[in-house]
Amino acid sequence: MRKWGSLLLAASLSVAAISACTSAPTDTTASPGAEGASPAATAAGGSRLDMVLQRGTLICGVEGTIPGFSFVDPSGTYSGLDVDVCRAIAAAVFGTSENIDSKIEFRNLDSTARFPAVQNGEVDVLSRNTTWTSSRDAAGGNGLEFAPTSFYDGQGLLVSKASGIQDIAGLAGKAVCVETGTTTELNLASRTKEAGVTINEVKFQDSNAAIAAFAEGRCEAFTSDRSQLAAKRTSLPNPDDYVLLDVVMSKEPLGPVTINGDSRWYDVVKWVTFGLIQAEEFGITQANVDQMLQDPNPDIQNFLGVQGELGQQLGLPADFMVHVIKAVGNYGEIYERNVGEGSELNIPRGPNELWTNGGLMYSPPFR
């Protein structure tokens, strides 16, 4: 009998211990602020590159529910432009293009969870439609590092033709659907303030809910990045009833993100992204990369690691770009496959053309 009593006591005490553990930290939830230093990056002492190599998998944060950028296709594989950037980084780091998905762990992050996930080291790289802004980049802000832009976007306005809205001034007194916790929300506020109109913001945690509300007529306009508006418009019952206004309210350069203060890892992500653009400029594609290894052009030989030590300097295999291109192709191929003419979204390349074709895609030289 006494034994039973002590057993119960022990069990109850363990409950007490659990409750003490769980209730104590909740009080301090607010103290490590959003600008938090990077305990994860510095704790191990080395670069995240070593950590990734040691682990054998790249943890890549994606959104998971953006048409053309990241989603799960019926066969259960991730697909999209952001996802292909993850694959490119993994191919470069691990020096292989074979079965690259087995070396990547995708982590789905919504807009409120993405920065904490980078800061606390949950993900190695964030490839998730994230706009490059000064405050996010600054050490005193979110403390992130932005790799080169992989997609130039801009905020637009989708309105129904029936509403007769032509420009921002026409929004006066109208309800506008917007996704909360994004730069989109801030831009809408500042542009409407600039135009001196008061609008009724209808906020949603997620863009699918926002477009559904817009389709039901709960708001007269829907604002988001133009790429997203183009995708969402195809999903509306009568796409022709809606018009994408010429208004461009913001610059939205979207690109991969790493943590501040780890330049070795940041350089890898940065130069792999540049490499995709450079490969398109050189005309190296998934199909012809093996022939290009014999190309006499010394710039291409350097780029593909036939000679020189660009790869070693970055801490990568010499032929890292060969693996990248074999895995996902060059930037143009990635674009066309996921959001361009090869996809249902069919977004014209516009600013995402190479600089040689009048766009903004430009890579510093690989030498």
């Binding site: 007490a16 769980t22 209730s23 930290p25 994860a40 019926p74 995708a231």
Partner: protein, 404 residues
């Protein structure tokens, strides 16, 4: 003396009011006001039904569901390992069938008319549903297995009195087997828990959270009633703190804050974090539900068992708790049903359970805008799961019903 009988022919006995027409007249058209209400509501309901049917058969594009069926049920679980899921389903079907048989042992007939109708509907759905033929055969096979094991359990329950005990042990053994089938290892190909999704993840997280939160909830409920002040205060503090926090913030805490406190080379699995969050949350509510049950047990029960010489743990374990838990079954099952539905919040920490996987499917440019179809489908799955739980709990209540 003459007795005057009332004239026999003045009023005839009322006609028997039976048959559908009489029922309709009595219940729907018994006054002019009710007649108007009936017609009005009938029109509204009929109109809704007609437009729903029109939508379902002409506007809706259902191919989003058959095309993504594996995603809905198991997420990114590798296709070459699907057989393990089928083995697990068969195992659970056999055990569930026998449990049903035991719970229904007092019933005069196992396969009553509603049960047969239910089975027929399930079989019909399995046949109609556009899946590859082997899957249809497997689903029918599993249904037959459930029915056969139910009959077996029903027979055994009356012949072997200890059969229920054996079945409980079988359930306990089934849990590690299920984990082995799902996670792999020991001869099976390992499957990353992050690749689980859809219904598999929803059910797994719910079941494990239920199993863990139940004992924790009982301990907290007992702790809150303890005579030792430290235990009482700590239990009360835990319950009040957790009940004061929204589940969303607890999950967010589990996913965002926890990694800050543990070394970066130790990575606590996202699914484990979700289970911890859900368990800690549900345990607090469960504790209060069970405390309500404990307080409903008359003091005399405790005093009587003391008088018989039972110690405190035995009094609790043999007299008070069994009665308290029996009283609380409906409320406890209600909590578990809401736990199942709360798993949709796992979306916020990036887990693709049923709701999350639907959103990812809807981001596929091929299926953009098929919200209604996709959400209707997962709504149906949730309804089936929740109804199964509440049906099971009612059976359990009936079989435990010993009140006089």
């Amino acid at each position: 003396m003459t007795t005057s009988f009332p004239p026999a022919s003045t009023s005839r006995p009322p006609l028997a009011q039976i048959g559908p027409v009489a029922w309709v007249r009595k219940n729907l058209f018994n006054s002019w006001f009710n007649s108007i209400l009936t017609i009005l509501l009938g029109l509204i309901l009929g109109n809704t039904l007609v437009s729903f049917v029109r939508w379902a058969f002409s506007l809706a594009q259902w191919q989003v569901i058959p095309a993504n069926l594996p995603l809905y049920f198991v997420g990114r679980f590798p296709a070459s390992e699907y057989w393990r899921i089928w083995v697990l389903v068969a195992l659970l079907a056999a055990l569930a069938g026998q449990t049903w048989g035991i719970l229904a042992k007092t019933a005069p007939r196992l396969f009553s008319r509603p049960v047969l109708i239910g089975l027929a509907i399930a079989a019909l759905i399995a046949v109609i549903f556009p899946t590859p033929l082997p899957y249809r055969l497997l689903i029918i096979g599993i249904e037959v297995l459930v029915a056969a094991s139910a009959w077996f359990g029903w027979q055994m329950a009356s012949k072997v009195p200890s059969f229920g005990k054996w079945l409980a042990i079988a359930w306990a053994i089934a849990l590690p087997i299920a984990l082995w089938l799902l996670l792999g290892g020991f001869g099976l190909r390992p499957v990353n828990i992050n690749d689980w999704g859809g219904m598999l993840l929803t059910v797994f997280v719910s079941v494990v959270s239920i199993l863990l939160s139940f004992p924790l909830g009982i301990l907290l409920a007992l702790g809150r009633q303890s005579t030792l002040p430290v235990i009482r205060w700590l239990s009360t503090a835990y319950i009040e703190v957790v009940r004061g926090l929204p589940l969303l913030s607890i999950l967010f805490f589990a996913s965002v804050m926890v990694p800050l406190f543990i070394p970066s080379n130790i990575r606590l699995n996202l699914v484990m974090r979700a289970i911890i969050g859900l368990t800690l949350f549900t345990a607090a509510y469960l504790a209060e539900t069970i405390r309500g049950g404990l307080q409903s047990i008359p003091r005399g029960q405790t005093e009587a068992s003391r008088a018989l010489g039972l110690s405190t743990p035995l009094t609790l374990g043999l007299v008070v708790l069994p009665q308290a838990l029996k009283v609380s079954i409906p409320a406890i099952v209600g909590l578990f049903i809401s736990l199942l539905q709360d798993t949709t919040l796992l979306l916020i920490i990036g887990l693709f359970e049923l709701l999350g996987i639907s959103r990812s499917i809807l981001a596929n440019p091929q299926f953009i805008g098929r919200y209604a179809e996709a959400y209707l489908f997962i709504g149906l799955i949730f309804w089936v799961l929740c109804y199964a739980m509440s049906w099971g709990s009612r059976r359990l209540e009936q079989s435990l019903n010993t009140t006089h």
